[in-house]
Amino acid sequence: MKIDKRQRDGATILDLQGRITIGEGDVALREAVQAAVADGAVNILLNMGRVRSIDSSGVGELVAAYTTVTNRGGKLRLFSLPGRVLGVLQITQLVTVLDILEDEDEAVASLA
């Protein structure tokens, strides 16, 4: 998985690209979130638009990221979820817990 980091209106946006699956994207995601937090990021937005696939391990990492950021008083939000990624989160009822926004503008606005 490829992860690019950028800033917008005080939020840290991570653009994820590829698969968040065991042994691959799961570790990369964890490290990227931890690095962002270590760099002082409070609110983090995950751009899921180019995530091709996710398994239970990847879902676990999303939850871990959510907990890490929330416990420090920040917000973690997801946007632009492809149908397959959204489907996996819906089935385990995580759409009710994780903050999921339609697109980047909405996600950024939600932090204001």
């Binding site: 691959e24 398994d55 239970s56 939850v63 907990t67 089935i91 999921i100």
Partner: protein
């Protein structure tokens, strides 16, 4: 060639996550000749990946020398997969419900749940000689666990 599409493929792989991609490649190639929609194959792939992950991790303790045996049997009507490890088994009925409020934010415990959702049926079989064998079945075209990706509300 208008022969019936009926294939049984066996694979034996070491317990390394990279090997999941090999099995995925075989699944993709096997399904390619069938008039399945891409999403259906995708969800079966996720279920298979979860089964392989569990066999490698919980069963074989990620020992690359320990093999996972996979059997894919496919015909026009559906798919029948078994994944077998050399671990010491477990009690499926004791596995926690990932939807229980206390478990919703756990970082683990969703693999078997996804298998059940994405397939019609999953069964565990624990041989006398140890090891776990999970069987995943799905009829093609059956509604099964259709995933509706509506936007959340």
């Amino acid at each position: 060639m208008p022969e019936p599409v009926e294939r049984t493929i066996r694979l034996s792989i070491g317990s390394r996550y990279e090997n999941i991609e090999l099995v995925q490649a075989v699944l993709d190639e096997t399904l390619a000749s069938l008039p399945l929609d891409e999403d259906a194959g995708y969800w079966m792939g996720i279920a298979l990946r979860e089964a392989l992950t569990n066999a490698m991790k919980h069963g074989n303790g990620l020992d690359p020398e320990k093999k996972v045996e996979v059997c894919l049997a496919v015909d026009e009507s559906g798919i029948d997969i078994t994944v077998e490890d050399r671990g010491s088994g477990f009690d499926p009925s004791a596995v926690a419900d990932p939807l229980a409020p206390d478990n919703l934010l756990k970082t683990e415990g969703r693999g078997i749940f996804y298998m059940r959702k994405f397939m019609d049926k999953i069964d565990y079989d624990f041989g006398a000689g140890g090891g776990t064998k999970v069987r995943l079945q799905k009829k093609f075209g059956a509604a099964g666990a259709a995933v509706e990706a509506d936007q959340e509300d």
